[in-house]
C-alpha cells in the first residue's frame, strides 16, 4: 500500500505509540486525584503541556487540551464571539475556504445575529493581509484565517495578518491543524491570539488536540462538568493521547528541517510528473504550499472513480468531487479558487510525508497517468472535447 493521504490522517509514530503505552501501563491514574499516583499523572499532563507550549512559543498556562481540531475551532470562535458580544461587536472576518469546523460554526453564529464576512482567496488560494486590513471595521470582534489549507495546501501570510489584527485590536484565531508539526509556528512572533491543533495530523493519536488561547482571553465552555483545564473544558483528560501528542509534536518540530527537505523533493517530483498529463492543473500556488501537498484537477474525469481505481493499485488518496462527499456540490475549496464545477469534480489530492519514497512517487505518477487516460477513454465529456464539440477548459 502507498499511503498518500496524510492530510486526512497520519500513521502514529513508534515514539508516540510508546509514549501512549507507557502512560497506559505506568501512570494511568486520574490527574485530578490527590494521592501520589494521581499526582504522577498530573505531573505528566503538565509536562506534556509544557512540551507543546514550547513547540509553538506559548506559555503552558495558555494550552487547553481538546478532543481535536474541530472542538478547538468551535471553542475559539464561540469564545471570541462571546467576547465581541459583550462589547457590542458582531462582525467576524474569515475566508471562503476554511475547514467546515470553522465554516459551520460561523453559520451558527450568523443565525445568532453575527455578521460573517468571508474573504476571497483568489485563484492561487492565498489571501492578502491588505484584504484583512480593509475588511476590519469598528465592530469586528474576530478574524479567523487558516494557517494552511487542508485541500490545496496553500499557506497564508499569518504573521502579517496577525500584525494588522493586533494594531487594530481585533482577536486573531488561526486553524493550524494542517500546519502544526509541518511549518514553524510561534504564536508570539506570528501575532496569534488563538490557535487550533489536532494531533493525528502529525503522527499523534486521533481525538486529541489543543486550543491555544493567549493569556487573558476568557474562553467559553463547550463542555460543562469538572474543573479540568482551568474549568474551561470538563472531562477527565485523555492522558495517553496527550502524551503521544506531545511526543509527536516535539519529534515533528525537532526534525522539521530534515523532513521537509525530503518531502519537498518528493513533492516537486510528483508535481512535475503529474503536470505532464495534458489538460490538468495544479490547485493552489506552486511554492507557497505545505511541503507534502499536491492537489490536481484533471479535465474530463470524475474524482471518485479515479480514487477507486487508484485504490485498486494500492494507492490511498482523496478527492474533492461531489460524489466522494455525498453532497451534490464539489469541494467548496476548489469552487473558492474559481474552479468550475466540472473541473472541481475531477480533483485529486495526494498528501505525502517523510515516510514516502521516490519509488512510490514514480508509481503514483505512472498509476495516475494510466487511470486518467482510461477514464477519459470512457468519458463522453472527454470525447466531445477531443472532437471539438465542447471547449477545453484547462490547457
Amino acid at each position: 500500500m502507498i499511503y498518500a493521504d496524510n492530510a486526512a490522517t497520519t500513521k502514529m509514530s513508534r515514539s508516540a505509540i510508546n509514549a501512549m503505552l507507557s502512560c497506559m501501563e505506568n501512570f494511568w491514574g486520574n490527574p485530578s486525584s490527590l494521592y501520589d499516583f494521581g499526582q504522577k499523572a498530573a505531573e505528566n499532563l503538565n509536562r506534556a503541556r509544557e512540551i507543546i507550549a514550547n513547540c509553538i512559543g506559548a506559555n503552558s498556562s495558555e494550552i487547553y487540551f481538546t478532543s481535536g481540531g474541530s472542538e478547538a475551532d468551535n471553542q475559539a470562535l464561540i469564545s471570541a464571539a462571546a467576547i465581541g458580544e459583550k462589547h457590542g461587536k458582531r462582525h467576524i472576518i474569515s475566508t471562503a475556504f476554511e475547514h467546515h469546523a470553522i465554516l459551520h460554526t460561523l453559520k451558527k453564529l450568523e443565525r445568532k445575529g453575527f455578521e460573517i464576512e468571508l474573504l476571497d482567496v483568489h485563484e492561487d488560494g492565498i489571501i492578502s493581509p491588505q484584504q484583512v486590513g480593509e475588511a476590519i471595521r469598528e465592530d469586528t470582534c474576530l478574524v479567523t484565517v487558516m494557517f494552511a489549507n487542508n485541500e490545496i495546501g496553500t499557506v497564508q501570510p499569518i504573521e502579517e495578518i496577525g500584525k494588522i489584527c493586533r494594531a487594530k485590536k481585533v482577536l486573531f484565531h488561526t486553524d493550524a491543524v494542517q500546519a502544526a508539526g509541518h511549518l514553524p509556528i510561534n504564536v508570539q512572533t506570528q501575532n496569534i491570539d488563538m490557535l487550533s491543533i489536532s494531533a493525528h495530523k502529525f503522527h499523534g493519536a486521533k481525538g486529541t488536540g489543543i486550543l491555544y488561547a493567549r493569556k487573558g482571553i476568557p474562553l467559553t465552555n463547550l463542555i460543562e462538568g469538572g474543573a479540568q483545564e482551568k474549568g474551561k473544558r470538563a472531562g477527565t483528560e485523555n492522558l495517553p493521547a496527550v502524551m503521544a501528542m506531545a511526543t509527536a509534536l516535539k519529534d515533528a518540530c525537532d526534525n522539521m528541517t530534515d523532513n521537509n527537505a525530503k518531502i519537498l523533493a518528493l513533492r516537486e517530483k510528483l508535481i512535475d510528473g503529474l503536470a505532464k498529463i495534458p489538460h490538468s492543473t495544479l490547485n493552489g500556488d506552486r511554492n507557497n504550499r505545505l511541503p507534502g501537498n499536491v492537489s490536481f484537477c484533471f479535465e474530463g474525469i470524475e474524482g471518485e472513480s479515479l480514487l477507486l481505481l487508484l485504490d485498486d493499485k494500492g494507492i490511498c488518496a482523496s478527492s474533492g468531487s461531489a460524489c466522494t462527499s455525498g453532497s451534490l456540490d464539489p469541494s467548496h475549496v476548489l469552487l473558492a479558487i474559481g474552479r468550475p464545477h466540472e473541473i472541481a469534480h475531477g480533483s485529486l489530492r495526494l498528501t505525502i510525508d517523510e515516510n514516502n519514497t521516490a519509488e512510490e512517487i514514480d508509481c503514483i505518477i505512472k498509476s495516475v497517468g494510466e487511470v486518467v487516460e482510461y477514464l477519459r477513454s470512457i468519458s463522453p465529456l472527454w470525447k466531445d472535447k477531443i472532437s471539438g464539440k465542447r471547449e477545453f477548459i484547462l490547457s
Partner: protein, 129 residues
C-alpha cells in the same frame, strides 16, 4: 465494509458494453458536468429489439457500474420491456448501492429512455411508453 458491493465493483472495474456505436439508431445523454455525472447511451434497434447497446460515462463508481449493468439488462430485449426498466431494478441487480449514491444510478434509466425517445423521434414513431 467496502463502500460498494462486489457486484458494483465488478461492473465498475470491468464495465460491459462500454464505447459507442456508429450510426446508432438512438442516442440519449443525461446529466451535466455541474452535477458530476454524464451518461450517454447508444442503441441499435432491429424490429423493436435492442440488438446492440453501448455507453460512455463521466462519473463516479455508482454511475459507471449502473450504466454497465443497465446495458446488460436491456441487450436483446424488446423495446416495450426495456422501457419498464427501473433504477430500482438496476440497483437491485447490483446488490444495492449506498443511499447517497442512488441519485447517480438514476441516470442509467434516464439515459436509456432518452435514447429510445431519440429513436422514436428520428423514425417518426409515437413515443408512448
Amino acid at each position: 465494509m467496502a463502500l460498494y458491493s462486489q457486484k458494483v465493483m465488478d461492473h465498475f472495474r470491468h464495465p460491459r458494453n462500454v464505447g459507442s456505436i456508429e450510426n446508432a439508431d438512438g442516442i440519449g445523454e443525461v446529466g451535466n458536468g455541474k452535477c458530476g455525472d454524464i451518461m450517454r447511451m447508444y442503441l441499435k434497434i432491429d424490429n423493436d429489439i435492442i440488438s446492440d447497446v453501448k455507453f460512455e460515462t463521466f462519473g463516479c463508481g455508482s454511475a459507471i457500474a449502473s450504466s454497465s449493468m443497465a446495458t446488460e439488462m436491456i441487450k436483446g430485449k424488446p423495446l416495450a420491456e426495456v422501457m419498464k426498466l427501473t433504477n430500482k431494478a438496476v440497483t437491485e441487480a447490483l446488490d444495492g448501492l449506498p443511499t447517497h449514491k442512488l441519485h447517480c444510478s438514476v441516470l442509467a434509466e434516464e439515459a436509456i429512455r432518452a435514447a429510445v425517445q431519440d429513436y422514436c423521434s428520428k423514425n417518426n414513431l409515437e413515443y408512448n411508453f
